[in-house]
Assembly symmetry: C2
Homo-oligomer: 345 residues x 2
């Protein structure tokens, strides 16, 4: 593992925790206006390959671990019993924009389970998808739970629950579905979770070290031949095959996966988390921006994918999330985003 000077000093001084690292800066008029600190880790199947900040920092993966939360769905045999397609598996791992393509797919999925919208426990919010948002706004229709960006994950929970014959409150931390998720999460991160928080979609979200999250992503990057390995491969293949179902048009996950032509899977999480799975290199990446900013987690994961050669500097996705100028309402360039010194190299 390559260590930063600060990490070496911290180790020598016997400190356990390492300070966060400067990752992304915003510049205006030749002066640094804002700074995003955070932690980033790259792991292979042996452990940490490279890190910035503190790999041992405990984080809530939020939606970035949806592919982990979807493992029991496949390993239990529930996905096969319900005849789930690759598109449905991609939706289970996604935080979609609530467009027609997403809403109709989730509605159809529940219909196939003889369930209806009220069976979901994710809650309703207006969709990010511009056309669907406009349709609801201008027809005075409220959004439904199918519009929730996590409805695909919840359809997966309901499918697992049908198989486990659990009760209707499938988001309760002690519900069989969530107990299965917790056990799997601790197995793939290789850690006992310090505890859980309730996510925006009401499901429990278990915390782990950023290194544990990157370790789990590395396992998805180089899955074994066993039942778990096959489940991991199915989910990564589904995400790479259907980037438009993992997020939506214009969103970072969709744009970055398309830019990498399916060579890697990436997933964002609320409060500045982003992960990447790189099968060709057998690497897993996890990023947490201390302040929770999405603009910074998108820039940081783009910087690391560039650093690893998974993205090309000339790709429009790179200028969009990292190197492109920041323009104002009249199109004038007002500033730029910069990688902090030493990040990622």
């Amino acid at each position: 593992m390559k260590k930063s000077a600060r990490q070496k000093i911290a180790q020598l001084s016997g400190r356990i925790a390492v300070r966060s690292a400067k990752l992304v800066e915003l510049w205006r008029g030749g002066q640094r206006e804002s700074l995003h600190r955070g932690h980033a880790v790259i792991c292979d199947d042996k452990g940490v390959v490279e890190a910035w900040g503190d790999p041992s920092r405990i984080v809530f993966p939020r939606s970035s671990c949806k592919m982990v939360q979807a493992l029991p769905l496949i390993e239990s045999g529930a996905a096969e019993a319900a005849g789930l397609t690759s598109r449905q598996l991609a939706l289970a791992c996604g935080s979609h924009s609530g467009g027609r393509i997403h809403v109709e797919a989730v509605a159809g999925w529940l219909d196939g389970l003889n369930l209806t919208e009220p069976d979901l426990r994710c809650g309703a919010h207006m969709p990010r998808d511009r056309d669907e948002n406009r349709r609801l706004t201008c027809s005075d229709q409220p959004p439904c739970q199918f519009h929730n960006n996590c409805s695909g994950k919840h359809a997966g929970f309901l499918t697992l629950n049908r198989h486990l014959r659990g009760g209707p409150d499938y988001v309760a931390p002690d519900h069989p579905a969530q107990r299965a998720v917790k056990q799997t999460f601790e197995e793939v991160t290789g850690e006992t979770s310090p505890g859980h928080g309730i996510d925006g979609c009401s499901a429990p979200n278990w915390s782990c070290s950023l290194e544990g999250l990157a370790r789990a992503m590395a396992a998805f990057a180089r899955p074994g031949g066993d039942r778990r390995g096959r489940a991991m491969r199915q989910l990564v293949d589904a995400m790479r095959a259907h980037p438009e179902l993992v997020a939506g048009e214009g969103r970072a996950c969709t744009v970055l996966m398309r830019a990498m032509r399916g060579s890697a899977a990436v997933k964002t999480g609320a409060e500045g988390v982003f992960v990447a799975i790189l099968p060709d290199q057998g690497l897993g990446v996890a990023v947490k921006i201390t302040d929770g900013a999405t603009r910074a987690s998108e820039a940081a994961i783009t910087a690391i994918l560039l650093h690893l050669g998974a993205l090309e500097a000339a790709d429009p996705a790179v200028s969009r999330f990292l190197t492109g100028p920041i323009r104002n309402w009249r199109g004038l360039v007002t500033g730029e985003m910069r990688r902090a010194r030493g990040f990622p190299s």
Copy 2:
């Protein structure tokens, strides 16, 4: 000036710059999920009264210094010559929501100057105001420059420009209107600005130390009897009298000024800046969140107003921006915001 331990250590060790301070934290499931660092300064007419982080940190005030940018409008005699009302002065200091009330007021203002929308240089963006945004969205109408949150400031620039007989490009840094703004800005901050950046509305935004910004706000809080003092009093009175024109329904500036019943004026700025003017105490406050997060600048200024006794803990505005629980789409409490240890006391 009360100094934090870190500030004392930094002084003893002869360092000029002091590290940012932990100001606002987000907690979920009993674990800290995100952290916002920053700098905050309280000044009176003699200088710094209390500070967190580094008072000498250079910042772009962005929209938080609109009352400073409006001083030449009054001091030049342009406002009186144009017969500007208190409502128009409030709009000149505001970052409005682009609601009908704001759009019609600015349109009428330009009409009174025999100018039209294309004379503005702020650019157009969709309004925050829900009703106006919906009206434009559902009638397929694009927003115009009147909708720009800075259109009141720009109407002020045009009024000043009419008086100065300057050219049409009133946002050029070397235009007489902006030269007057720069000179005034350096006088009230008591500093020579390191330089300017181009703001979202295309106007130059001059940088200064956070202490300089707080010092300027303290001058607005206890204005003298001279021409400048009278101009400062007019602007602060206008902001306090028309909180709905300084921002809009539900927005922090409007909600906080109403909660303080006009006893103080507050103004937000992009990238995590917030200032407060407290005439009763003769104090000026300036906050900069290092990462630029608005949720944190709103929480931090609320915490300081509470600390200074300008707000009451029981006020709904306090729970809204600082102490209230964070709920998800189903209304479940998922977390809370906390003041970091030592902030503000």
